[in-house]
Amino acid sequence: MSYDHYQETKELSLKEDRATAHLLSMVLQEHIRAITKTMESYTNRPLLLNAVRNKNVEKTREHLVNIIKNDPYTESLVITDRGGTLWTSYPERPEVIGKNFAYREWYKGVSRNWKPYISDVTLRVVAEKDLAVQIVTPFIDGKGKIIGILLNTQRTVGLAKIMQQVTVDHGTFTNVVDRKGNTVFSSRFAHEKEITPYPFYAVKDGLISSAKNRSAAVADPLLGGRTYYLSYAPVAGPGWSVFVGRDSRQIVMSGLSEYIKTGVMTLVLFLLSVLSLVYFRKRATSQRLLDQIRADEEIRKERDQAQMYLDIAGVMIVALNAEGHITLINRRGCEILGYTEQEIMGQNWFDICLPEEMREEVKGVFNELMAGDTTPVEYHENPVLTKAGERRIIAFHNNILRNQSSQIIGLLSSGEDITERKQVEEEIRKLNAELEERVHYRTAQLEAANKELEAFSYSVSHDLRAPLRHISGYADLLIRDLHDAIPEKGKHYLDTIADSVHQMGTLIDDLLQFSRTGRQDMQQADLDMNNVLQEVLETIKRDSKGRGIEWAIATLPRVPGDYSLLRLVWSNLLGNAVKFTRTRENARIEIGVHEESGEYVFCVRDNGVGFDMQYAHKLFGVFQRLHSSKEFEGTGVGLANVRRIVLRHGGRTWAEAEPDKGAVFYFTLPKKKERKP
């Protein structure tokens, strides 16, 4: 073989090898990327994230099973927590549950910046304990917190199978080497039980720099020092390298034949054309393969995304064809109905999922819909039958499905399970009815009690007064008629009797009034407090004429309230102020008001005898007095009245004073009408 011929053949072969290396690297890259993307789509699923957060073994198992089902190259999946402690795996490997793998290269890799990571070749610690690489993706929840790690173990034998999809020249070898220079896979050397460095890894450094010519020649000790050509392509994703190796003798062998001397040109041409055909076909094949891989990838991505949307949905989504068979159902639908996707797909919706009594009717409506005779009701609530025979109420939204030519091909429904809501609504209705009843009963009781009280007061009012009048009358007659016959002492006794009688009369009146203020219906109106006050003032001023009381009266606002009851309040308060300033030369009574958080605060201030704050809490009690009747008359009901009336208006009462320094009495009234009297 001539040197030129050898060179030509060699160049062609090496070009061929480089293309092969490139193809192999693309295939490997694509494979790894596909797996990584699948894993990432899973680690982003909210349902799975939730299951991982709660370390729910059953729920996560479902997802892991799904991944393995859909990817023949994934054999083993494992989930660890953020710190690298394993808590579940599929297939199940109880021997490693609870073990911590933070010492492994894959953990160190992924925990560097929590991005997907492909490890270098490692020796597995479980099962076959053979060579593998780990593809890892982190679980990151909505708030950016790392809640776990998903680990996909790819055995090198599996990777080898992938690589073998690409046909290589006879006499060439394929090697894949990791970042550390260890062999991931080699068609030349079969080693699966130990990590072996690739002998020619150093060649890579020289080859990377030259972009075009990524082939090199080495002296291969295994070939007795003979030249061994290596063509290199990087596997970008994991940072690995593909080396396609060719024995130089193989080149020589292919060219060296005395027979072909004459037909050397033909052979060369033939070889050339064959080679270039093969090369182009390979490129086409590789291109097609790449395209297919890419197209598959797109479809898979879109399908996964669509599936994700369907599965994230909290409502059930069902599609029926024109015959009423189920063509699509989402995860929630399966959950609600209790069937697995396999069990229910293709079944007749009406026969399986509707209660018997409505089956025919609903089927009829459906058929009309499919025939185009009616339009679907936008929203309706229907019971469905679960696998277990339970009835659940679903709120459905329906849409007719049409094909490209606008023909009706089915129905798409989304449904929300409102069974619980309906139950709650029923509960509420029942409770409300019960409440109504109870209110009626209580009201009737109250009305009865009120009536009794009224009768009681009536009795008191009339029957207690009569004897009092008699006592008063006869005592008076005694004095009138037997004036001279009665000694002074006797007259004194009779006067005392008359006084007591008088007192009792006042007491009865006060008590009746007190009772009335509690029972009486409030006549709510929008009152001008100034008017109410004026009316009371007139009487008070008239009764206290000659006393020289100084009045300082502010302008009062409008308030909602009962006229006669509020008049009583002023009457009592002003009456008290007048009474307890009796000992003063210059009595001064002030009436004021100010606004505070939705209420009016009224006050009556006097400079009278005041009281001891120690007993302030007794002030507004019935019959409670802070002064003896020797000092000041009174029954002790007046302020109790005031408090009761103010309370009924939704206000408060209180007072402040100092002995001999006067007193201030406060009461509040809300600015807006209270709801109950």
Partner: protein, 148 residues
């Protein structure tokens, strides 16, 4: 000569009767008073029935009517008077212990001319009687006598 106008006092309680008569006496109105014990007697008197068949002709200037009485109570007397054509114009003053609103309402609805609550204090009572008796039995113009 001024016709002595009669006051018909309808009162069942003897103590109240004595006190009221005394109050009227303090005002020099005692000699005009005819007292009956209950509602039935009051109607007999007004209708010239029973033991009053042969009483002197003429109607009282005012009826002082207590409410709480046995057999026929004050409200019923009032109703009877007001529904009798011959008697309906006679002035009726309710004189009672009770100040309860239902009684008040009822009496005015039935056409009482006045409603006076007997004060507990006797002196006040005397004063009230003076005003009431003085007005109705002296000052007030009587309605004309009904046709026979």
């Amino acid at each position: 000569m001024i016709d002595l106008r009669v006051i018909l006092l309808v009162e069942d309680d003897p103590k109240d009767l004595e006190l009221t008569l005394r109050a009227l006496a303090e005002n020099n109105l005692a000699n005009r008073v005819t007292a009956v014990e209950d509602g039935v007697e009051a109607m007999d008197y007004l209708r010239y029935e029973g033991k009053y068949k042969l009483r002197k002709q003429g109607y009282p200037a005012v009826v002082l009517l207590d409410i709480k009485m046995p057999r026929m109570d004050g409200i019923e007397v009032l109703r009877a008077i007001r529904s009798d054509d011959k008697l309906k114009t006679i002035p009726v003053v309710i004189l009672t212990s009770s100040r309860e609103e239902p009684d008040l309402k009822r009496c005015y609805e039935l056409g009482a001319n006045a409603y006076v609550v007997k004060p507990v204090d006797f002196k006040e009572f005397i004063d009230a009687v003076k005003q009431v008796g003085g007005f109705w039995a002296v000052i007030n113009e009587l309605p004309p006598a009904p046709e026979e």
